[in-house]
């Protein structure tokens, strides 16, 4: 560029530049440490006999890994399928529960708080098993996938209702007043003014819940009828007495999936925070 800023830098600019440098250096150091940790982890499972400090690497059955990783990886589809269905259900339930929490109509408020209390007061694992094993006794037979989705959706919905409640509460009361002053009905105010803004607040934390859900979906393996990551890992692990290898493969896939989703999530968050506010 032919234009150059020749003004001497102000004190504030110098401090800012120094801080940027410091941040960059810090991030670089963290990245290097991560690489070192990964190398150590890899060495630990390398089977290498002569590690420093007289340690011996753990020997993994590489042939088993080569033969079975793709079988386990195929479970990713199912894992994502459960997670997506469940997050949709959870979002709907959370929204309704949040509206209930803010309702002045006692029965609606009561149903909402009762639901949240009951679900948060019992283990997710129990809920999944309940929908799969206990409901058939009442004549309600759900396929494993749907038992899992129902349990995960209900469970996450209860926790996520707090997110939506906060989102609704974050919309200032001036917004409601402005809408009412224009002559909007309560319903129009909610649908046109409050909800769109509340959802903007709620989208990033909902992304976080989705990431958590991809991992909790492993619990659905207990039904034995949903062939997601966890089910496949335990299946081949047990059959060949290679649980260590199988579970490591499973863990790696969960981890990679989480890393990718987290990266997507932070981009989403950055975009939302830039939004038109």
């Amino acid at each position: 560029m032919d234009y150059q800023d020749v003004r001497p830098k102000s004190q504030a600019e110098l401090i800012f530049a120094a801080q940027l440098r410091k941040n960059r250096q810090f991030r670089l150091n963290v990245a290097l440490s991560w690489v070192a940790l990964l190398v150590i982890l890899a060495l630990m499972f390398s089977g290498e006999g002569n590690l420093p400090f007289g340690l011996r690497g753990i020997k993994l059955d590489t042939q088993f890994i080569a033969e079975n990783w793709s079988f386990i990886a195929a479970g990713l589809v199912s894992t994502l399928e459960i997670s997506i269905l469940s997050i949709v259900l959870a979002t709907l339930l959370a929204l309704i529960a949040a509206l209930g929490r803010l309702s002045t109509f006692p029965p609606f408020f009561a149903v909402s708080t009762f639901y949240v209390s009951l679900i948060r007061g019992t283990p997710l694992y129990l809920q999944i098993v309940f929908f799969f094993l206990a409901l058939p006794q009442l004549g309600i037979i759900l396929p494993g996938l749907w038992a899992g989705v129902l349990a995960l959706g209900l469970n996450y919905g209860a926790y996520m209702s707090e997110i939506f409640r906060a989102g609704l509460a974050a919309v200032g009361k001036g917004q409601r007043e402005a809408a009412m002053a224009l002559g909007m009905t309560a319903r129009q105010t909610m649908l046109r003014i409050i909800l769109p803004q509340a959802l903007r607040f709620a989208i990033p934390p909902t992304g976080n819940e989705f990431i958590a859900m991809t991992k909790d979906s492993a619990l659905v393996a207990v039904t034995g009828f949903v062939h997601e990551l966890m089910w496949r890992a335990t299946k081949v692990g047990r059959a060949n007495f290679r649980n260590l290898e199988a579970l490591i493969i499973g863990a790696v896939f969960y981890w990679i999936m989480t890393l990718i989703l987290t990266a997507l999530q932070s981009r989403l968050e950055a975009r939302m925070s830039r939004g038109d506010r």
Binding site: G174, A181, R192
Partner: protein
């Protein structure tokens, strides 16, 4: 001219605290009435009672022959409140623009959602009103891209787009940086000249003096004095009015004169 707004014996309680006492007010068409008073005198509450953002405790409000009494319940009362709101446009201290809608969207929202107007007609009305406040060129921006003064002018256009009988201004310049107050007052001045009926709660004494047909002074929830601005500012009758005006003159404005709420800036 026969009044188009009649407020009769309006009372308002917050719990046991009476914030408005027997307010009676008549407004003729094209009148500009400024309401002044100290912080906590009830002037904003009074304005908010007129479109039932606050439900009055007693009394009645009549606008263009449509009368609503306090304490009503049920569907018919709600319908009347709705109709009153259609006859009034309100401008808030904090603007309260809808941040998820463009400037044009903000102004179209009332005509489209409340009046059920088709988008073409609503766009035309919105653009006309944005032009009135001098912001047609900003129609595709979002509110976060506007200055405070511009936001308030869009808020005025949004209220005007509903073609109200009466415009209510609740301290429209109190949240603005000093250098932005002028542009909003100019728009209001223009509206007054065009014959808009306006009730303005304000601390801008210069504006009140210049534009108002009548100045109403509230203290402790009561109208203590009302007269033409020249007379009121020259020879206030009530000592409280005198103290209020002198406070402004000496530049020691009461604390209420400063912006309140999130938009307040301390430097």
């Amino acid at each position: 001219m026969a009044p188009i707004v009649r407020v009769k014996s309006l009372d308002k309680y917050f719990g046991r605290l009476q914030v408005l006492k027997d307010i009676n007010l008549e407004v003729a068409p094209k009148d500009v009435i400024c309401i002044i008073g100290r912080s906590g005198s009830g002037k904003s509450t009074f304005l908010r009672c007129l479109n039932f953002l606050e439900e009055p405790s007693a009394g009645s409000i009549e606008i263009e022959g449509l009368s609503v009494s306090a304490g009503g319940k049920g569907r018919e009362h709600r319908q009347r409140v709705h109709d009153i709101r259609l006859k009034t446009g309100m401008v808030f201290q904090e603007f309260n623009l809808f941040p998820h809608m463009s400037v044009l969207g903000n102004v179209m929202e009332g005509p489209v959602t409340v009046k059920g107007m088709d988008r073409v007609a609503a766009t035309e009305i919105a653009e006309m009103n944005l032009d009135r406040v001098g912001l047609l060129f900003k129609k595709d921006e979002y509110p976060n891209k506007l200055s405070g003064g511009q936001k308030q002018r869009v808020a005025i256009a949004r209220a005007l787009a509903m073609d109200p009988t009466l415009m209510l201004f609740d301290e429209p310049t109190s949240a603005l940086d000093p250098e932005l107050i002028g542009e909003v007052l100019n728009v209001m001045r223009k509206l007054a000249q065009e014959g808009t009926t306006m009730l303005v709660v304000t601390h801008e004494m210069g504006f009140a003096r210049e534009v108002a047909d009548r100045v109403v002074v509230l203290a402790e929830g009561e109208i203590i004095e009302q007269s033409e601005p020249d007379e009121l500012f020259r020879a206030p009758r009530d000592p409280r009015t005198k103290a209020l005006i002198e406070g402004y003159r000496s530049g020691v404005r009461d604390e209420d004169a400063l912006p309140r709420g999130p938009a307040r800036r301390r430097t």
